[in-house]
Symmetry: C6
Subunit: 216 residues, 6 copies
C-alpha cells in the first residue's frame, strides 16, 4: 500500500485509538531499520525501557540488532521543561551525533498535551516539524485519536503537518460479534499510493497487512 | 480471550457504564487470587465493606478465603486529602507489608474526579501508574465510561495508561426487546490476544464468558 | 424482572424523561408499602400534596391506607436552604421517628440542581447516600434524563450511586406511528436479575409490566 | 387522544419547532373556550394583535365570539421589566377580574429567554407555575424546541413543570419527498391518555387530528 | 407551493447552506417585482453591485427593468456602525421615499453577526422586525444555516420571527453519486400552504420548482 | 463540471480534509496557467519550496514552465506579523508587478488560524476578499474542513465568501473495504454548473476527474 515503504526524509503520523497497535507499528518500523544496519532513535513518553524491551522480546525478534544502533529515550510526560528541551533542543544534536536515519516519538500526543493553550501548541509543533525537516531522517509520530472524531488525531495537527498519515482503527461488525483491525494510508505526499482499507493482524512477531506491498 | 488471564505485574483497566458488572469483575479477580493463596488489596471508593461482603456472600463464594489475605480499604470519595494520601503514599507501603500480588481500585474514576483541572489529574495519574509499575503486583482499575464516548473511560486516561483494557457494555437489540452484556479485550500489551466480542452473563457466583479461555 | 421486588435497605434510581411515569412508579411503590402496613415518607419537589392526592384518587386506589402511615413533604425547589436542610438534616430524624421503611424523593434531580457547581453537588450527593445507607429503609430516587444521553440521569450521578437502576423510556417506531413505554432494570447490585426490556402501560390503577415477576 | 380535552385547571405545554402550528393550536384552544362562553386571556410575545386577528380571520372563524371575552396582551419581548411584571404581577389580578378560565402564553420560550442565567430562569418559572396553580384556569404555554433535542423545549423546563405535554413535529420521509405534521401527547398527569403519534393537518379553519377524541 | 406567492406585507426567511441558491432566490423575487412595475430595495452585505449585475446578466434577464425601480445598497459587513444605522434608521425612510414594495436583505446573517452577544442580537432583530412590520412592503431575509442544525438559521432567530420560512437544501443520494436541490416551505402564517419538499433547479434564467404554483 | 474551468477573476475555495488532494488541486491549477503562459503566485503556508518542487517533479510535469512565471512565497505560519503583512499589504503589489493572473493561498485556514478571536478573523477575511476582488486574477484558497462538519471549512467563512466552492472528500464504503475520492462543485456563482459528485483519482501527473468537462 505504501508502495515500497515510507519515503526517506519524510514525516509519518500513525493515528489510532487505544489498542490499535500504534506502538507495535512504531517498533516494527524501528526493527526494520535496525535489521538493515540503520541507527534508530526511539523517544517513548509512555512505556518504560524494560517494558518496550519486553514487548520486543515477546515478539521473538532478534534482540542482537538492538543495542548497537538503538537509542531509547524514556521521557517523563509530566516534566514539561525536560520533555520540551529534550525534544526541541537535544534531539537534532542526537540525530547528528548518532547518524540515526529513523526517529520515533511515541506518542506525540503526550508531547502536544504539555502545552496548555492551543496557539502555543500549534506554534511549537510547526517549529518542531520545521527543525526535523532539516534532519536526514524519517520521522514517525504516533497519536491517540480525538474522542469525537475517530479519523483525526488528539489535537488535529499532525495529520496536516505529516507527509504520510496511517490510520489504524477497529471495525466492529454491526451485531458486535467480531472485531477487526484495519489500516488505511490516508495521505501520502510525493508518492502515488493505493487508497484501500486493509485488514491487518498483530501477529506474534509482526504486523501482517493483507496486501502485496511491504509496509516497512 | 485473555489467553491465560491477566499478565503478572501488568495494569488492567475495566471500563463500562453503570450495571455492566465492573465490581463483579473486580471481585472475581480478587477471589481467584485468594483461592490461589495470594494476598489481595481492594480499595473501594463506592461500596461499604459490609455491602461488598454482602455481594460476595450473595455469590455463594467461600468466605473463608477472605479474612486471611483480603485487605479492604473503604475510602471516602469526598475527602480529597485522605483519598489522595491513602492511594499515593500509603498504598506502596501496604503492598510491600502485606505482600499483595493483586490490587484493585474500584472505581479509579472517582479518584480521578477528585482533581479539578485536567492537567493536574493527568500528572497525578501518570505518577500513580509509575509508582505502581515498581510494585510486584497486578493492578485492576475500574472506570465509568464517558457520557459521550461509550468506548472511552470517564476521563480518557486509563485506557492509554493500562496494558490491558477490558470493555464491558450492553448490546441492546434494534427493537429494544433484549439486552446482553458483552466483554471485549480491546488492548493487551505484550501478549497475543484474541479480538472478539464475547457475550457474558453475571451468574449467581461468577462472570461466565462464553469463550474457551479462562478470564481470571 | 426484579425477582421479588426491590431489596430491603437498598437504593433505587428511577430514570426517565418527562411523561415516562416516574411519579406513577414512585406512588405505586409507596402504595404497595402502605397496603402491607409499612410507613412511607414521600418528599415531593414538583407536585403539590393536593395534586398528588388527585393522582392517587384518579388511580382508584383505596385512600384509607394513606393518612395513617403516609408522610408527605412538599419542598419548594427554589428555596435552597430549606430544601437542603429538610433533606440532609431532618430526613434521618423523620425516618427514625416514624419508623418509615420506604422513602421517596421525587425528583432527586431538582435537589441536585440546587448546587451550582459540580463538585459540591457530587460531594453532597455522596454524603446523602452515605447517611441514607445507615437508615433501615428502602430509598427510591426519581430523576429526569440528561438531554444528550437518554440512558443517563440529569447529572450523571445517581445511576452510579444507586444499587438498582430502573430506566423508563419511550420506544417510538421507525415510522413514528406508535409509541410504547419500556422499562429496563439496568443494574441491580447483590441480586441476580433478568436483563430484559419490558413494555409496560400506565393503567388507570397501576403500572402493568408484562413480565412474570412483580415489580413492587 | 386527550380523552375529552385538557383537564380543567391543568397546565399544558405545546412544544414544536417553527412552522409546526403552535400558535394555531393555541388559537384553537382559545376559540373553543370562547365558543362555549368562557373568557380567554391571550398573552402574545411574538405576534401583533392585528396579525393574530388576521390569522383568525383567515381561518374563517366567527369573529363575533371574540371581543366579548377575549383579552389580548401583546408584550414586547425585549422589554424585560414590563414583560416580567405583566406576567408575574398583573396576570393573576387580570384572571380574577375577568374570570378567565383559559390563559395562553405564546410563546413562553421568549419569556424564559429574558433571564440571562439558568438558575434565575428556573426559579422564576417555578414561581410562575406555583402562582398559576392557584388560579381557576387552564394554562397553555407554547415553546420552541431545543436546537439539539427535538423532543425538548428551548430551555428544558416546561415539559417537566406542565401536567400535559403536546409535542408537534415534522415527519420527513427518508427520501425527503413528503412532510407530515405529527402530534403526540407525551405526558398527561392525572389522566389515562392514549400514547399514539397522530398525523394532523392545519386546515383552513382548524387543526384536524386524525383520531376519535376531540383535542379541545 | 406558496399558493400564489408570498403574502403582501409579510416577512419571509430563506434559509440554506452555501451554494443552495439563496441569492438567486432573492434576485428572482426582486426581478418579478420589477417586471410588475414595483420598486425594489436590495441590501447586499456580501456581493458587490457589479457582481450582482453580472449575475443578473448571466441569467439573461431583461436588464431594462432594473435601473428604474431597483435600489441597491452594498453594505460593508465589517463596518458595524454604518451597517446598523443604514438598516435600522435609514431603511424605513428609503422605503417611504421610494415607495418600494419589495425589500431584500442578503444575507441577514451577516447583519446578525455584527452583534457580539446573543441578547443584544435578539433585541435588535426583534426591533428591526417590529419596524419593518409598519412598512407597506414584503421583506425577504436570506440566512446561512447553523453548522450543527441544517434546518435552522445561523443564529436561530429569523425562522421564528418570519411569517414564511423557505428552506433550501441539498439532497445527496446515499451512495453520494447525485446531488439535488430541494425547496421546502416549512412555515407560512396566515395561509394554507402545501407541505411538500420539491426538487428545484437553478436554470440559466430562473429557479424552476417542479410544482404547479408559482413561487414568486 | 465547472463548464470550462474556473471563471476569470473569481474566487474559488477548495475544501477537504487531510489527504484529499487540496495541494495537488492547487498545483494543477498553477501548472495549467503556466502552460498557457500565465504568471502564477503560490503562497504556501505549509510546504517548503523544495518539497513543492519535489511534488511537482514527482508528477513528471515539465519543470521548465516554472521559473519563468512562477512566484513562490513560503510563509511561516507561526509568524503572525510577517504572514499578515505579506498577504494583506504586499500581495496586491506583487500581483500588479508580476502581472499574475492566478494566485493560490495554500492553505488559507492556516492564515485564518492566526487570528485568535472570531470577529477579527471575520473582518480580516472580508477585507482580504474585498482587496482581491480589485485585482485582475483568479484566486484559489484551500482549507481544511471543520472537525464536526465535513462539508464546511475550518472556520466556516471561505465557503460563503468564495464564488466557487469545490468540496473534496472520501467516500468509504459501508464495510470499510474501499476508499474513493470524490469532488463536488457545490457552489458556482454567475455560472450554470452541473451538480454531480464525481469520483476522481490523483494520478502520477494529474487529477483525473471522471467527467466530460475539463477541471482546469
Amino acid at each position: 500500500m505504501l508502495s515500497g515503504g515510507l519515503l526517506e526524509r519524510s514525516i509519518c503520523a500513525v493515528v489510532g485509538t487505544y489498542g490499535t497497535g500504534k506502538t507495535t507499528f512504531a517498533l516494527q518500523f524501528a526493527y526494520e531499520g535496525l535489521r538493515r544496519g540503520e541507527k534508530v532513535i526511539y523517544i517513548s513518553l509512555e512505556e518504560r525501557e524494560e517494558l518496550l524491551r519486553a514487548t520486543i522480546a515477546q515478539k521473538g525478534w532478534n534482540m542482537e540488532v538492538f543495542g548497537e544502533g538503538f537509542y531509547l529515550l524514556k521521557l517523563d510526560p509530566t516534566d514539561f521543561n525536560l520533555a520540551i528541551s529534550s525534544i526541541k533542543s537535544e534531539l537534532p544534536a542526537l540525530i547528528e551525533n548518532t547518524g540515526a536515519s529513523r526517529v520515533i516519538i511515541d506518542p506525540i500526543s503526550l508531547f502536544e498535551g504539555l502545552f496548555e493553550d492551543e496557539s502555543t501548541r500549534r506554534q511549537e509543533m510547526f517549529r518542531l516539524i520545521e527543525v526535523m525537516r532539516d534532519e536526514a531522517c524519517t520521522l514517525v509520530l504516533t497519536s491517540e485519536t480525538d474522542a469525537t472524531n475517530p479519523e483525526g488525531s488528539r489535537y488535529g495537527l499532525v495529520e496536516y503537518l505529516a507527509d504520510t498519515v496511517v490510520l489504524l482503527r477497529y471495525i466492529r461488525s454491526a451485531g458486535l460479534t467480531e472485531v477487526h483491525l484495519a489500516l488505511e494510508v490516508v495521505k501520502m505526499r510525493r508518492s502515488a499510493h493505493s487508497r484501500e482499507i486493509k485488514p491487518f493482524e498483530i501477529l506474534q512477531d509482526q504486523i501482517m497487512v493483507y496486501s502485496e506491498a511491504s509496509l516497512f
